[in-house]
Symmetry: C4
Subunit: 236 residues, 4 copies
């Protein structure tokens, strides 16, 4: 992933995939990937129309100080949130932020997405957590960096492994997701939206909220992840 | 925007975009733009199939008295509502009316769309208000002009800046939106529909209605609007 | 409408339009039109794939006794319902039956679609009514003819003009709609589905059901229908 | 159905149809068909992208012991569930498993899909049942085979004919459906999703759950199935 052109192509592709999956309307979303070797994060430019975006429009910023390395476009306004997560979580290779319809609605309600079934357990080893609200001082200061901080605070407090729970709802804002690759981060964004939809639908017919038992969480998660995984094809 | 052909092309494009965004089915919607220099409003013809509409079908009407300036087609039956808003609000350059599914449902419920998150705050600096019901006399008289009046009454009573809150729900009818340009008016129509969807979804899982604090409203709004905006690319 | 080929083409087109509008999945729907001069109803064949249907597949049946006039295909299993309505209502020129998602759900709930806004009033001059349940005897006998009877019973009891209320929900079954032409019947099917969607969405945020006042019903209806109509273009 | 290539083509087609019908996103679903003569089940490979799947990728496994007969791809991780049902139910020719949005949400809620209307009765001669939860021992052991067992347990306890009720919700997991052919199994998957959607929508406007009387269940079912069927065209 050290090849500058290849990573730009993948980040562009990930951003377009968000639109194709119906997770992003207008310009409401962004995907990034990191080149850990050189400490460079590649992210969507701010407010640019997806239909006209090229690999050259993807903005490279330094992981350490967020400065733009080349090009004339501003990076996504959410860049500081991405950087905070990349700095804290060395295994994360890609990050996605959307305002996808159902996940954002749940974030606005301020509740977690409960682990209600095997679809959830296949990708999230427990509830998708929701952060606390940001304070007035946090919002009026370095808002996007502080958004990263409340995510990290939530994962730290509950001792959550970000690889096992690859997403979060930021209260009154919306979903962030991530993965070892940016393609995984996109898939986790799509999965979160799907889980949010099912949460809403189930609430209509069964007001009492149910959760899967921990052994089902473990089974589905280990069926897909780790040394005992048997879902999908063997790696080549 | 003084070029007659160019403004017709843009108004046609805006009307087609409403269909493409899923905000209009059948012929249930209309978009207009104003040429302030000549005092002419260009609006969709009434009840014409979108698939066959050309720039020449867009109807130019006088801002002052609503008379049709050229062509054989009738303007949208909602023209008088558009004119009332253009007359009262000199900064508005484009207006859109739709019967989009969720926003219209909320209008039928007769409640505002509460400001529940950052998606809302990015475009609307507070709740999307709902008008009062029209009286029997208002409905039976110049109904469409009176529809404009109750919108203006609502914004006047609450001292709302129409540029900061670029949309409204007319009680038991549906959404109107506007902007400095007709393209903005379309985007605000799409945003209102999206906010209405999230309002419905959030209600399913969290009956207690939440609103964002005013400092979050201010932050997101000023991030995108005014001299301190840092969302999107710098204007050329 | 006496030209056999032209009416077949229109009925085929109407059936395909139901699919295009998302009102029919699989083969769950049917549209018909009547040639009043010759007393012939043209209706979709039963259980035939839409993708392969041609004008020659449309089945002509006699209005008086329902016998098939030509061709080898069986008419829609709902033909007797269509015939009952055509016989009772001489102004009706086309009929549509679907299992569209939301309208059918409301029919399963067994409640009318309340007139909650101007979108409703533009096409339905009052609630979309729901029939009573069929009795065991009615279901086990000539079921489809009896389905027509309970529709007629409902309109007769409430003295409803079928042109002013061009649709109904059959309890625990689904929507039927009609119009002066089959194209109108299709549009009314689409409108009923849209109204049903808004009914469901509004219920989520405002449990108390509202209805529009009669003067708004009258205004919107007469704006589109009758001698004082001013929506759409003047007839040529 | 003994021709190896033809059955591979049909199983591929069935899997692609699940995507086209919106029942499967990502790789979340699988369809299989059985060659009863040779005791071979043909099933989707695990975790392979639908866009690149060819008939040669479909995996043939032995009905008796589940061993793979040819090729290098692993069969779907749910293969043991399919096998359990094929072994118990000799009339079943095709099986489908999806995580379709609404049916899965109802499975997560842990309730059956009630028979609320004629759409339901046309394909399911009673409620779509839900299984009991699997125990810790069942989940940690041969999980997928046990999933088949709880389905069979549910049908055995309630003495349900799997041809008359061609689908089930596995608690906290999702829907399985089947049919005499794999094409029927796909249609039943689509029908279950549609019924689940209507269940959710009806709950919004009428909290009290209704069910159709048994004579309506019988009428619609026998209208489509068995010697007295009169829906669709006569078999050639």
């Amino acid at each position: 992933m050290s090849d500058d052109h290849e990573i730009r192509r993948r980040v562009l592709q990930a951003n377009l995939e968000l639109v194709r999956l119906g997770l992003v309307i207008f310009t409401w979303g962004n995907a990034s990937a990191i080149d850990r070797e050189h400490g460079i994060v590649y992210i969507k430019p701010s407010g640019v129309d997806y239909a006209r975006m090229t690999p050259e429009d993807i903005v490279p910023v330094r992981l350490d100080d967020g400065s733009v390395l080349s090009g004339k476009l501003r990076p996504s306004s959410d860049t500081a949130t991405h950087l905070a997560l990349y700095r804290a979580w060395p295994r994360v290779g890609g990050i996605v932020h959307t305002h996808s319809e159902y996940a954002t609605a749940i974030a606005q309600a301020g509740v977690p997405i409960p682990a209600q079934g095997s679809t959830h357990a296949d990708y999230f080893h427990g509830d998708v957590p929701v952060t606390r609200s940001l304070t007035k001082e946090e919002v009026e200061g370095e808002y996007e960096a502080r958004t990263g901080d409340v995510i990290l605070e939530r994962f730290g407090q509950n001792q959550i492994d970000p690889i096992a729970i690859p997403g979060v709802l930021v209260d009154q804002h919306g979903p962030f997701s991530w993965g070892v690759t940016v393609e995984q981060a996109v898939m986790h964004a799509g999965t979160m939206e799907f889980l949010a939809k099912m949460f809403v639908h189930a609430a209509a017919v069964a007001p009492r909220q149910r959760r899967v038992p921990s052994f089902l969480l473990d089974k589905h998660y280990t069926r897909k992840h780790g040394p005992k995984a048997y879902y999908g094809q063997k790696p080549h």
